[in-house]
């Protein structure tokens, strides 16, 4: 009996080890650098967004990134939603009207499209009319839409932060493609986006340092909000549900115990 036992365990071990051995060397090719570790206020089961940070993030997006990156699924009104940057209704009206681009509306009575300043109900107007136009202005590369970008990359916020602060000189001997910049956090290492941020580029009025690093952090948080605008509501309801379920489980545990006490099982 015990001999057979050893034999089967040996077989199991052999199968496991041989598969591990043959699997091991297959790693390597095309590995991406893991993002920097960075802490955000919205992490953890009770984490919430930092309003000031989202407001600053919006400001950098609007003044820098919006020139190339669209945000099709977010409307100006969302900037005032609970759980977001929570700009006041008056501020939202101003932000919509002062967005760097006007909104295309129409057709009017004569059948023509026309441009007008944004209103809170408008979605962020895109920088390019279509993908081809976007590629034409970016040496063939397409600046992706930002609405859900933080969920469309592994480890989204940390990745975006790392990408923005991660521009470096290419390692000696590396040939860059035309119009490409070296960034070891980008898969493949060559990104078609020039470093978009510089110190003191966007004015912060609340005393927060105006550095590339701080801008990048604020942007990552802002992009997490655009991707997951219901995060705070989700965690709040989640906590209530958890408390309810755990208490109910406790009650049921004792009910079950009492009920089964007289049954041999």
């Amino acid at each position: 009996m015990s001999q057979i036992k050893i034999a089967t365990l040996g077989l199991a071990a052999a199968v496991a080890v041989s598969s591990a051995l043959v699997a091991a060397p297959a790693f390597a090719a095309g590995e991406v650098k893991p993002p920097k570790s960075v802490h955000f206020s919205f992490e953890g089961p009770f984490g919430t967004y930092d309003r000031g940070q989202l407001q600053r993030g919006y400001k950098v997006y609007e003044q820098v990134c919006a020139a190339c990156h669209s945000m099709d699924l977010v409307a100006f009104r969302n900037l005032g939603d609970p759980g977001g940057p929570e700009f006041s209704p008056a501020e939202v009206r101003v932000l919509a009207a002062e967005f760097p681009r006007e909104v295309v509306d129409g057709p009017d009575d004569l059948g023509d499209m026309f441009e007008r300043p944004g209103k809170p109900s408008d979605y962020f107007p895109p920088p390019f009319p279509n993908q081809a136009a976007a590629r034409a202005s970016n040496s063939g590369a397409y600046p992706p839409d930002f609405s859900v970008i933080a969920k469309a990359r592994p480890n989204g916020p940390a990745y975006i932060y790392s990408l923005l602060v991660g521009y470096e000189d290419p390692p000696a001997g590396m040939e860059l493609r035309d119009g490409a910049y070296y960034n070891s956090y980008f898969p493949g290492g060559q990104i078609a986006m020039a470093p978009p941020l510089f110190d003191e580029m966007v004015e912060y009025t609340d005393g927060t340092p105006m550095t590339v690093e701080q801008y990048s952090k604020d942007l990552s948080a802002f992009l997490m909000w655009t991707a997951e605008p219901k995060l705070e509501e989700r965690k709040r309801i989640g906590f209530q549900v958890m408390v309810f379920l755990v208490v109910l489980a406790g009650l049921l545990y004792f009910t079950k115990k009492k009920l089964w006490r007289d049954v041999d099982h």
Binding site: L9, V15, V22, R153
Partner: protein, 432 residues
Amino acid sequence: MSGQSTYHFKNPAVRWLDSRLPIISAMKVNALDFPTPKNLNYFWTFGGILTLFLGIQIVTGLVLAMHYTAHVDQAFNSVEEIMRDVNYGWLMRYMHANGASFFFIAVYIHIFRGLYYGSYKAPRELLWMIGVVILLIMMATAFMGYVLPWGQMSFWGATVITNLFSAIPLVGEPIVQWLWGGFAVGNPTLNRFYALHFLLPFVLAAVVFLHIWALHVPGNNNPTGVEVKSNKDTVPFHPYYTVKDFLAVIVFLIVYAAFVFYLPNYLGHTDNYIPADPLVTPAHIVPEWYFLPFYAILRAIPDKLGGVIAMFASIGILFLLPWLDTSKVRSAAFRPLYRQFFWILVLVCFGLGYLGSQPAEGGYVIASQILTAYYFLHFLVILPLLGLFEKTKPLPGSISESVLSKDKGGGPTDGGGGTVAAAAASAPEKRG
């Protein structure tokens, strides 16, 4: 189901109804008084959990369907609108997406429970086979559901899987075009997948009904694998198992809720938040975690047709299991050798799941081939031989006897308690 009612109800309205349509007594017989072995452990609670999850998927799915648009230009954004602008839409979607994962966690535990305790043996062969049909329908439903949000993985997953049919000799290409409704995965494909995704859960509900019907003829198996001998071996389903199942359901829901509320995208793939683009192929096309072991088997075989056959055979073989296992003893508790091969099989399935998530190159392929071979070996060689050569432990005379000897400490049963609990703890992470 069982002809004329023998119950007598005091309430005249109930009596009136029941003498014309004995639905109340059918419920009493099948859901309340149903004699159930008194020694079932928590692995018997997953049937109830599965039924609940079918309900959760149907309810959340209906709400999603009221807001979803099945068109290639709008599907992705309509799902995002559900997340942003529909009241509690994010909750419905995260419950539905994670509900699919937890449905599979529950069904895999349920299936391995059956493998461990020999629940597929006579007289429960048909019950088991209906279960395999349920698994197949679930897989088809989940595969088509994953296509609906029309992200990159939706599109490329659909492309890879539908393309498998092109491996069929002669008629392969026409069949694939017929499936697509065109010359590539496109709007007609999305539309038909939506229609089928809506329909199949209701087909599933009907098959689940048959499954439970087939269960209620022989009654439950139990951890000893010894049939019920007298009513000393059983307790009425209600309140004993309604309360126990309720407890298990709530504990399972706690884990589910942890994902829905705190890690809603953990089990999904980030690429599915990129809108589908037929011109950009993702670096690695991987299916949802619950398909990974089958995906590994598919890619283990160098030949396309061979891979497809192996993949379908890996499930199809389960239909033959009641006849491949030649042992007269059901429960692994009394089959010392089978018990070890069972755990090896569990490890092999986890291993295949891990390999399915890795690129199909070099060592990963060789490892997949070894594990795939072992998987089939288990069913086709080990099980038939084990029944002939294995020396099983003596069976208890009845359930009551085994329970009493256990209370005195030791005895022949082990009911699998300790070892199987470890499986539950590790099961949710099938992706390896």
